[in-house]
């Protein structure tokens, strides 16, 4: 792990290969324990979630038909925002991860689900499941890391363009779903001439098509229906607000996942020849959780358990909170950071990092931004507690 070893504090220096192997085994066992008990209770969870989301959406859209009247406008807009958030986060994201494929329900399956978002499911699954989850926090491979427009690590050379990155980040947050569509399309790669033209054209058509359908629904069809009661303007605005609200929310949640202080990034060479244990380590060190209420966890699609999600991306999301204490315990025993904090804290921390990295390293140092990572003492490392058995 060369990238890690360059850090001021190398978070894994104390681990022997044996430790990493036994860490891998412990995490495999946690995963297996969930697989062994996956069943009707979990199926009921996701079906209830879908039911609640769709009924909320229907009720909100019905209310918006009368959005000329303020209360209907307010409640309808809030409801639509909530339903859009649930659909993208707890349902869409997790279904497309294949978390519910084991149910064999063709309506809740990663190969058939299409979400309420500008990015078509097929493209998103490629860039998210294959690239982001495989190359988590690997500079230059993981698009989620700065979306190709931001500087995310001190090791990246600074150029004046990065001065504007707090602004870029905010703009990206407001138009987040289109941002996602753009990097699922690998726009950046295309402009650098590294993406096949024919493929880009085909993908581009898919994206435009999807955006067209989404826009028609939110900004033409539903306002047109509401025109019957003279509420078309309000409905259009409500749809815009709901999409904006969801953009800001999802952007914040995703920033909290990999961006707060204390989360590591990696270089392309550092992941060559990774073992299962190494891979788990990178997922843990590269992710951060959010503490909060049950409603908050659901609204983040349980991405507030980002560490658990990155360790086991295809386990049902309702199980992350159940295994979280075990994962935290493993981190404690192996002396690994388990980065977590309240939502405001994590959002703030991520934004501070964006701002700090917009400056060249020497300037940032002068401003004395603190860097979150403190070394963690292992409480029960296999290589130290039982050296004989570990060697045998």
């Amino acid at each position: 792990m060369t990238a890690l070893q360059k850090k001021d504090v190398n978070p894994v220096a104390h681990l022997t290969p044996q430790d990493i192997e036994s860490l891998g085994k412990e995490l495999d066992a946690v995963r297996q324990s969930v697989l062994d008990t996956r069943g009707a209770r979990d199926a009921k969870y996701i079906r209830t979630m879908i039911d609640v989301q769709r009924k909320t959406e229907l009720a909100s859209r019905a209310l918006l038909l009368f959005s000329r009247w303020k209360p209907a406008f307010v409640v309808g807009t809030v409801g639509l925002t909530v339903s859009k958030i649930l659909e993208n986060m707890e349902i869409g994201h997790n279904v497309m991860h294949g978390q519910w494929d084991w149910m064999r329900d063709p309506k809740i399956h990663s190969t058939t689900y299409e979400w309420d978002n500008a990015s078509p499911a097929s493209l998103w699954k490629h860039s998210h499941n294959e690239l982001h989850h495989t190359f988590t926090n690997v500079l230059g491979r993981d698009n989620d890391l700065g979306y190709g427009i931001m500087r995310v690590d001190e090791d990246q050379p600074w150029v004046p363009f990065y001065l504007g990155q707090p602004a870029w980040n905010f703009i990206n947050a407001c138009f987040f779903e289109y941002g996602i569509a753009a990097y699922d399309l690998e726009l950046g790669k295309y402009f650098k001439g590294r993406k096949d033209k024919a493929r880009f054209k085909a993908d581009g058509k898919k994206v435009l098509n999807k955006i067209g359908q989404q826009m028609t629904k939110d900004y033409v069809m539903h306002p047109a229906l509401a025109a019957l009661t003279g509420s078309w303007k309000q409905t259009l605005f409500a749809n815009y607000l709901a999409n904006l609200g969801r953009n800001l929310w999802t952007h914040s949640v995703i920033m909290c996942g990999h961006f707060p202080e204390g989360v590591e990034t990696f270089t392309k060479t550092s992941i060559a020849g990774e073992s299962r244990g190494d891979w788990y380590l990178r997922q843990m060190l590269g992710s951060a959780n959010i503490k909060g209420s049950k409603a908050m966890h659901i609204a983040t699609g349980n991405l507030s358990y980002q560490i658990e999600h990155h360790l086991f991306p295809d386990l049902p999301s309702n199980r992350y909170q159940e295994i979280a204490p075990q994962i935290e315990d493993i981190c404690r025993r192996y002396g690994l950071p388990y980065v977590t904090g309240s939502l405001p804290h994590q959002v703030g921390s991520a934004w501070l990092k964006v701002i700090r990295l917009s400056l060249p390293n020497h300037l940032a140092k002068k401003l004395k931004f603190s860097r979150g990572r403190k070394p963690v003492q292992p409480t029960a490392l296999p290589s130290r507690t039982a050296p004989q058995t570990a060697a045998a």
Partner: protein
């Protein structure tokens, strides 16, 4: 399928240009979902694309068999007596599909019934017999199958059944009994109390509408050809429908072939007869870009489903071709006879995944 003979038929809704336009508009309001996804929230039986049914009644038949009366959804196209339907139930959260013969007679309320015998260790049959409850929603597919009476009814009929093999025959009798003049039913079950539909069959016999020959294998032993000659001496003159355990069907098929009358024999199997397993291999699903290690003992279909892959399926025993996938390249082995099928790169040989096991690496288009 012979649509003209379906006994219960909902008239298909007149499709019109206006309908199509209305659908497009509705879809523009619900995209990326379909309008029916919202209708499903309130009335899952209305779905035009996903046939579903609701369990309306459960009737115990024997210790380990029960009849499930189902109200099919709007799209149900009816059935021909003797056909089976596929039913999908969620067991421990996992959707599982099996075929069951339709046993109900003519009904005014449009409901259909299946009769299930619980098999020890059987996932779906045990669930249907022990855990299903009235009011529950089940997934369905349209009726299918060739085990039906011909248009011109034969004068003399022999029905040869064993165990739960009575089910399609019961479905036929309940519909056609009045049109059939001379029916012999030779039925085997382990003990008298194991005979499904015993009361109804014995009553038909008492009324002289069929001749029922009941055999109890615990005391009489398995049916053999000598006994068949003795019990139904005129069997050669009778067009025969047979359904039962694999051994019984094998005996019957051999015997009919040997006497030169196989064209008078119709059989229905509930499961394939399999040979010794071979070595497995890696199956690569090209569309999903996904690899799966498969053993050589079980069908690719079962193993794919267990891995959470949505695979097309039907009868699950090699008769309906509902499960075929093109094999681009590789080798599979037919579990029924050990026959090897090999595809050279680009061949695209169609293989049935429900009765084929991997025999080395193979690429399937899914």
């Amino acid at each position: 399928m012979r649509d003209d003979e379906r006994v219960t038929t909902d008239a298909p809704a007149p499709s019109s240009v206006w309908r199509a336009r209305a659908f497009r508009l509705a879809k523009a309001l619900t995209t990326p979902l379909l309008p029916e996804d919202y209708v499903d929230l309130f009335d899952p039986l209305r779905s035009p694309t996903h046939l579903r049914g609701r369990v309306r009644e459960l009737v115990a038949e024997t210790d380990d068999a029960r009849t499930v009366v189902i109200q099919p959804g709007r799209g149900w196209a009816g059935h021909v007596p003797g056909q089976y339907l596929r039913i999908g139930v969620d067991i421990d959260g996992v959707r599982m599909w099996r075929a069951y013969s339709i046993t109900s007679g003519p009904r005014d309320d449009g409901m259909v019934a299946i009769t299930v015998k619980a098999i020890t260790g059987g996932a779906v049959s045990t669930h249907l017999v022990e855990s299903l409850h009235v009011g529950q929603l089940v997934q369905m597919e349209q009726a299918d199958g060739e085990f039906v009476l011909p248009k011109v009814l034969p004068e003399k009929i022999l029905l040869l059944t064993g165990g739960s093999g009575i089910t399609p025959v019961m479905g036929i009798l309940r519909h056609a009994i009045d049109q059939l003049d001379d029916v012999v039913l030779l039925h085997s079950a382990p003990r008298p109390e194991d005979v499904i539909f015993a009361d109804e069959l014995r009553e038909l016999d008492d009324q002289g509408r069929i001749r029922l020959v009941e055999r109890h294998t615990d005391t009489h032993g398995m049916l053999d050809t000598d006994e068949l000659e003795r019990l139904v001496p005129d069997w050669r003159e009778r067009e025969t429908w047979a359904c039962g355990p694999a051994g019984m069907l094998e005996m019957i098929e051999k015997h009919w072939a040997a006497t030169g009358t196989p064209h008078l024999l119709h059989t229905e199997r509930f499961r394939p007869v399999t040979v010794e397993p071979g070595k497995g291999g890696t199956v690569y699903f090209t569309g999903l870009e996904r690899e799966l290690e498969c053993d050589g003992a079980r069908p690719i279909l079962d193993q794919g489903e267990e891995a959470g892959i949505l695979m097309p399926s039907g009868c699950r025993m090699g008769i309906c071709y509902g499960c075929v996938l093109p094999m681009r390249e590789g080798t599979v082995r037919d579990l029924r006879n050990g026959e090897i099928t090999t595809a050279q790169p680009g061949d695209g040989v169609l293989i049935q995944t429900c009765i084929n096991a991997a025999a080395g690496r193979c690429d399937l288009d899914l």
